[in-house]
């Protein structure tokens, strides 16, 4: 695999059009758009994976843990050629591969089936461990979770383990739209810092800030980027 990404077939300005092709999941609309900019920057500038390398052992892995409201995810994948945009209009239909929660066995480029909260970060920990055990130390593992999803105990098991274990290949993006009912004393960043992660907090709509945070060196430690976006309500 090379370090260059395939030129996207669509641009960021196509996102609204692509997302408007999907209907029927209005409840999850705010959740979908909260992730849009982080996803865009990752797929456009950071992740070393293309439609041609979705099965390559040394590809970067992106695990969407926050599987509800995946319209931005699908739109970004379509814009980057992982599947044709004609699939978007079938969103949620019986024969469509694109459900209201993604299924890795149905969608090219999707690394995990998600929707039940709190599974992505433990799976990402295991993926990072597995890649390291196979001697594949170049690929990076990214997982995107939401601030309310961080309430799940499984996530705390994973982040408490990953810091002391020094899983440098592991990266977490927390989309913080202040949707957790009971906020975290000291903030989300403090939780990761306490566990020994490299942490940064940025404006989740600022592409340059996201890019800088996503690509900052973090020797020997897993990396967490807290991306703040406008509250859901």
């Amino acid at each position: 695999m090379t370090n260059t990404t395939t030129p996207p077939t669509g641009g960021y300005r196509d996102m609204n059009r692509l997302m408007s092709l999907m209907t029927g999941d209005e409840k999850h609309g705010p959740a979908a758009t909260s992730t849009l900019d982080a996803l865009w920057v990752l797929y456009d500038r950071v992740l070393r994976v293309t439609p041609g390398t979705v099965d390559a052992p040394d590809r970067d892995r992106f695990l969407l843990s926050k599987g509800h409201g995946p319209m931005a995810y699908y739109a970004v994948l379509a814009a980057h050629g992982f599947f044709g945009e004609e699939l978007l209009s079938g969103f949620g239909a019986y024969d469509s591969p694109l459900g209201h929660h993604p299924d890795r066995t149905l969608v090219p480029g999707v690394e995990i089936g998600s929707g039940s909260l709190g599974h992505g970060l433990p799976l990402a920990v295991g993926t990072a461990l597995g890649l390291r055990a196979r001697g594949l130390t170049d690929p990076r593992v990214w997982v995107l979770i939401g601030d309310a999803e961080l309430d799940e105990g499984s996530n705390h098991e994973a982040l408490a383990y990953a810091g002391p274990a020094g899983l440098e290949q592991l990266h977490t993006v927390v989309i913080d739209n202040a949707s957790a009912s009971h906020g975290r004393p000291g903030g989300i960043a403090a939780r990761f810092e306490t566990a020994g992660w490299s942490v940064d907090s940025v404006d989740g709509r600022d592409h340059e800030a996201l890019y800088a945070a996503f690509t900052a060196p973090h020797g020997g430690r897993p990396r967490a980027v807290i991306a703040h976006v406008a509250p859901k309500h």
Binding site: P57, R61, D103, R104, T105, E111, I112, G113, S116, G118, H119, L121, P122, L123, A124, V125, G126, T127, A128, L129, G130, L131, R132, A133, R134, L136, G153, S154, E157, A158, A160, Y161
Partner: protein
């Protein structure tokens, strides 16, 4: 004689030396036994601490990365506590792995119900496409573990301190073995229940089948054993009574049949003591089995 868990440790340690595809994920339990393996293979022997949800998720993540994970702790914490992780992180993701439990239904009776898991196989039975091995002897456990490590699918291996006095061939790990032949019914003994079943049916004109692999269920083997007419079948399992009654019914759907499922009762005993006392309380000692089987078969 070593225990099944001892054998799991020695066998897995050896397999880790031989097969770079294998990984072991622990949550503190059995950590000491794997000290040498952890030093030899620090990247493939992972102890996540007392974190059972992470245990399953990390094991499945290693499978996503191309390894064959063996994931181990007590049955209560391997199957029951993180059950949704078992369901989604392995099954829904479509990846394979080997879950290896210890503790069984009451291997540590003095520890009480917190460390008992009589419902583990029934719970796994709600999931599709898991092979379930219930060895009845450490030698059988080793053979079944080697099979499980070498393949790609999803496998649950249930280890226990309960054991038969001698090992039987486990063959390909899928078919039931005929231990005794008779005409007055078929009794299936699962794993460590065999010795007690043989003692209980001594002198009865029954066929005894021995099962170390209960999923997939060897329906063809059962049909061969019952012959062509009406069938009376007893299944004696070392976990929740009736766990395999439905699959036995399915196997016999074209014959008139009755099925009696014996095993651990659903009610919590709230008793400590020893394994033998629990076997007796659940009617799984030779005397209890003789009464229940005899009454069912009219003997």
């Amino acid at each position: 004689m070593d225990t099944m868990r001892d054998r799991f440790i020695s066998t897995t340690s050896q397999l880790l030396d031989e097969d770079p595809r294998l990984a072991l994920v622990l949550a503190e339990i059995s950590r000491d036994g794997f000290e040498r393996a952890a030093r030899a293979h620090p990247d493939r022997v992972i102890n996540v601490g007392i974190r059972e949800q992470l245990l399953i998720g990390a094991g499945a993540g290693m499978a996503l990365a191309g390894l064959r994970p063996l994931v181990h702790t007590f049955a209560s914490f391997l199957v029951e506590r993180p059950f949704e992780q078992v369901k989604l992180d392995f099954g829904h993701q479509g990846v394979g792995g080997v879950l290896v439990s210890a503790g069984g239904s009451y291997d540590w009776p003095a520890g009480g119900f917190t460390h008992m898991s009589p419902g583990d196989v029934a719970l796994m039975d709600t999931l599709d496409d898991w092979t379930v091995h219930v060895p009845g002897h450490p030698d059988e456990a080793e053979e079944l573990l080697r099979q499980a490590a070498a393949e790609d699918g999803r496998v649950y291996v249930r280890l226990s301190l309960q054991s038969n006095t001698r090992a039987r061939p486990v063959g390909a790990g899928s078919g039931f073995t005929v231990v005794r032949e008779g005409k007055g019914g078929v009794v299936i003994a699962v794993g460590p229940m065999l010795d007690n079943v043989l003692a209980a049916t001594d002198g009865l004109d029954v066929t005894v089948l021995y099962a170390t692999t209960v999923r997939p269920f060897d329906g063809a083997g059962l049909r061969r054993a019952v012959g062509g007419g009406a069938a009376d079948v007893v299944i004696v399992e070392p976990y929740l009574a009736g766990t395999s009654t439905a699959v036995a019914n399915d196997a016999l759907i074209e014959l008139p049949h009755r099925v009696l499922g014996l095993g651990v009762g659903r009610a919590e005993l709230r008793k400590y003591g020893e394994i033998d006392e629990h076997l007796t309380a659940h009617g799984l000692d030779p005397r209890g089995l003789r009464e229940l089987i005899g009454a069912f078969l009219g003997g």
